[in-house]
Symmetry: C2
Subunit: 329 residues, 2 copies
Amino acid sequence: MSGSEFKIIQSYFSDPEQENRSDIILGIGDDCAIVAPRKTSQLAFSIDTLISGVHFPHNTPADAIAYKALAVNLSDLAAMGAEPAWFTLSLTLPGELSQNNWLGKFSQSLFSLAKQYHINLIGGDTTHGPLSITIQVAGYVEPDAAIKRSGAKVGDVIIVTGGLGTAAMGLDIALQQSADNYICLSDTEKKSALNALNYPKPRVIEGVNLRGIAHSAIDLSDGLYADLGHILKASNVAAELQLENIPLSDTLSCLNQEAAWEKALTGGDDYELCFTLSKDDWPQVSKMNPQFTAIGRIVSQQPDQNNLRLLKTNGEELMLHSRGYDHFG
Amino acid sequence: MSGSEFKIIQSYFSDPEQENRSDIILGIGDDCAIVAPRKTSQLAFSIDTLISGVHFPHNTPADAIAYKALAVNLSDLAAMGAEPAWFTLSLTLPGELSQNNWLGKFSQSLFSLAKQYHINLIGGDTTHGPLSITIQVAGYVEPDAAIKRSGAKVGDVIIVTGGLGTAAMGLDIALQQSADNYICLSDTEKKSALNALNYPKPRVIEGVNLRGIAHSAIDLSDGLYADLGHILKASNVAAELQLENIPLSDTLSCLNQEAAWEKALTGGDDYELCFTLSKDDWPQVSKMNPQFTAIGRIVSQQPDQNNLRLLKTNGEELMLHSRGYDHFG
């Protein structure tokens, strides 16, 4: 760490209001941070990088970038049912961003979200280069209680934790693509779609509450179709979705029915959880979480069928135009 | 993680020869990795990013980049006296590097170094963009045994673990700078300087052995002058170095005496350790580690003096032309 880097970290990333967790022995400022993990828990780790022009448009404000970089990592913890504890940050900045209090806005937004989820920044690295943000998070899970992708069982109900597709519409709006399709949206609705893109709410509490109940889980970063596909592959099972049951966000009412489904299935950045659980547990979970929606069921793999079938009420199968989501890069 | 990223990770970063440590419950492939840390230890974390054109020249080979990205992080663990355990990797790649087996060479070199230090890759992220590598390492330290920057005491002897300045000459050679100064070097010596730059040996074993003996330590990434300065600041002490005692690498014999000292003091990338210990412990440590050299002592701060004085045998003080090292970016 060079002298100039040291000054950046000193001034922006030593938040005096960051209440030190009792499990942190030594925070930012040495060669390593030192923590004393709870002896009764296991630890979950995830690392994610966001690159300007790939994971967010170049004109994204500093506070949204900071928020999202931490939120997508919290979402990975949520998908395992882990409780956030500490994170490290590596920030690569082009020279011009050291002006106009960019770093001040970035760090304020970062610490604000961190505080909300009781997670502490314990280390960092800052370098010069094209804007990118890498965050690694660590969190606690009880021994063998982590919710894996590989635990889905035939007969499970498939659930999503909220409405889908808004963030993908927000991205279209941010990039001023498909503008003609969205003239039906009010300015308020457009703003709400942009907010869904820039400030996804990580489902941390929901994830922790699903420990011991959900058989499998994943967070929706690349779209329901691709991400549920990872569960199916890891669990060696197949799935049938009832298209009419997929919770479409209100903003999708701009699109015709099939385009709306396609957006909800292949649009990324929702950061809702998709999980499976026994159908016997669903009534109770549903009652406690009215925003959760059952969208289909896990079935056994059939050699002559798609692993993930998208069914309309009339029994017809929907074929998607695109399946994956490589962000917009 | 998108479909294409998933394939990259699957093919290159799931090393079948990586022996899974018994403290890893779930490795690469889910939203998080899960580990079960030893109950008797604390954990040390560090994160470091290397950017092409900033931390290494654009023409650096894939295997050197992988080696160095992990080695500099291992060096941070070494500086705390921590024992390597797990690491995560975030790799940002421009499109053209998916050709010519770049990833194959990168991952082979990464796993080879990892194996040597019994550290396992437990998670990763791959994205498209200008080449950069972020690694976070985690390691074990016994409770309250981590060697901090802040523990230097007046009267301590200051030690470095090996010769200084070779890597900085290697950088000059890689960039074809100061070529005139180096005509006295043989091709073998030039190659050895380049190797010092590209393949620094992290002092992991030395660091672990210094627990309970060293009062303070840091690894030399930005040059002895700047890095020892961090120890002095954190410990509220000053230091006097005996210039004639600084172990200059053989390749520095090309330079005149003061230029050689300047290179050894301000050149970066040596990744030796600089530590302090009681002068009573030095004879025993010295006997067991003939490659260690005492270069000065910790003194109390004086209001009218530099915190770090560079003394010749005749008592004269050397004034440096530059003090820090912002790599070559």
